[in-house]
Amino acid sequence: MKKKNALYAAAIALVSLLAGCAAGGGGADGGGETEGPDAAGYPADCPSIELLVGFSAGGATDLAFRVLADELSTELGKDVRVINAPGGGGSIMINQMLSAPADGCTLGHSTIPSHLAYLYPEVDAGYTKEDFAFAGAFAVGPQVLTVAADSPHQSLDDLVESAGADGLTAAADSPNGGDAIINAQFADALGSKITQVIVDGSAEKVTAVLGGQVDFQNGALGGVLPSIESGQLRALAIWSPERSDALPDVPTAREQGIDVVAETKYALMMPADVPEDVRQVLEETLATITEKQSFQDDLANLGIPTQFQTGEEYSTTWDEMAETVQAIDFDSLN
């Protein structure tokens, strides 16, 4: 009897190993076959490149960076793999990146405004912008204000009018992150109060709106698009400077009289001490990738339009956002 079991177990193990090889070979492990016409030699001697993402696997941000990692592998001829290090609003991942050797083998995801949390006094971040070097930005994520489909508000005006003495309620996923930044500016423009209910993650924000616990929520376009299209959520405004191709009928907040603009920028960063030639190669590669149709299509599936910025330009955008954020008083929201 024992021999039979041993064989059985060995067979399963073998099959799994083979599957693993196949899976590994196709996915995270060996995706680094050079397909580009001139595979830029990566000026750092890394067996593989680690891209740290400060969010859990499967989330919108994580997916965007997995798409990027895939393209980077192709372009650089090196295996780029995503490692999730969620928690602390990104600080865990940032600290992990900064404590790795600055040899160009460890990169990090950068999204603003979420990474601007280090500016707040109560967050003892232990790092500043000076610790980072940016390869550049590759995408911009629109934020959409949504209400439940059965809500009486058909437009932003309706919502604003219903504000009354108690103001409005909104679901947010952190007391001082991207949502809060929008809500604070929104409340300012409205001249009335917005009470935030802090929930765990974007799925719970949608649940809060659907269940009628709050008046509205601000969500990433990619995340709410399916719910909008299936008729459960209604988008009242988009917080970008211009309308989105994915939601052409949704006016911007600006158009409707609320002069607030907010978007999430997706970028690639690394520790500041990484050699400049590594950073430049990454910058050029990002520029190439953002032009590729396949990349644009993949990100379109996630509801994120591509937009390239050099490291320098991204840094400027960072400073501009930081200025806006530092002027905000978050206590009014909670």
Binding site: S16, L17, G20, C21, A23, G24, G27, A28, D29, P47, S48, D79, R81, I83, N334
Partner: protein
């Protein structure tokens, strides 16, 4: 039964632990006050911890006091008994006989514990420094040799081989374990 030298008596140990818990509760309470119990009408970050710490303070005091009285006057407050349902035939204590009465820690046991804990520092300190393969070989070999008393000749090499195989298996499945030089990728995995 092996009779070892008792380091700490049964009741003494319980009382000591209860006091430690009470101290921890007090500490948490102090820190919670610093964190603000309330912000306006809303509970602040310190509210919940303070509430829980307060309960712990009460509970650990009760435990310390009750431990002091055991077994002389028995449990007059009825707190040692299960206050839910009367359970006929329910035995006091856990499953095996030797644990029922022995809450002491003798010298031999303390030595084993100390070794296990200290040896655990091997992976904690070295895992990210010298990598998975070497660290785990050292760690597991050490345990096998000292705790398991296995053969001195074969243990280390076999453990090394086993560790390498596990490392390969993990990589194949997609789990990336730290290594100083990524020899598995160099091997083409």
């Amino acid at each position: 039964m092996i009779r070892g030298r008792r380091l700490l008596s049964q009741h003494g140990a319980e009382r000591l632990t209860a006091c430690i818990l009470a101290l921890i509760a007090a500490g948490v309470l102090a820190e919670s006050l610093r964190l603000e119990l309330s912000r306006g009408v809303q509970p602040g970050p310190g509210f919940f911890p303070a509430l829980v710490a307060g309960i712990l303070l009460v509970l650990s005091s009760l435990w310390a006091v009750q431990g002091a009285r055991m077994p002389a006057s028995g449990d007059s407050l009825g707190l040692l008994k299960d206050a839910t349902f009367p359970e006929p035939g329910d035995q006091e204590g856990s499953t095996t006989p030797e644990e029922l009465t022995d809450r002491s820690v003798n010298a031999r046991q303390a030595k084993i514990l100390a070794f296990a804990v200290l040896w655990a520092l091997v992976p904690i300190l070295l895992l990210t420094a010298i990598g998975f393969t070497l660290t785990m070989t050292v760690y597991v070999s050490g345990l096998l040799l000292i705790v398991g008393r296995t053969s001195r000749v074969w243990t280390v090499p076999l453990t090394f081989v086993g560790t390498v195989l596990v490392g390969i298996g993990a990589r194949v499945v997609g789990i990336y374990l730290p290594e100083p030089t990524d020899y598995l990728t160099l091997l083409g995995l």
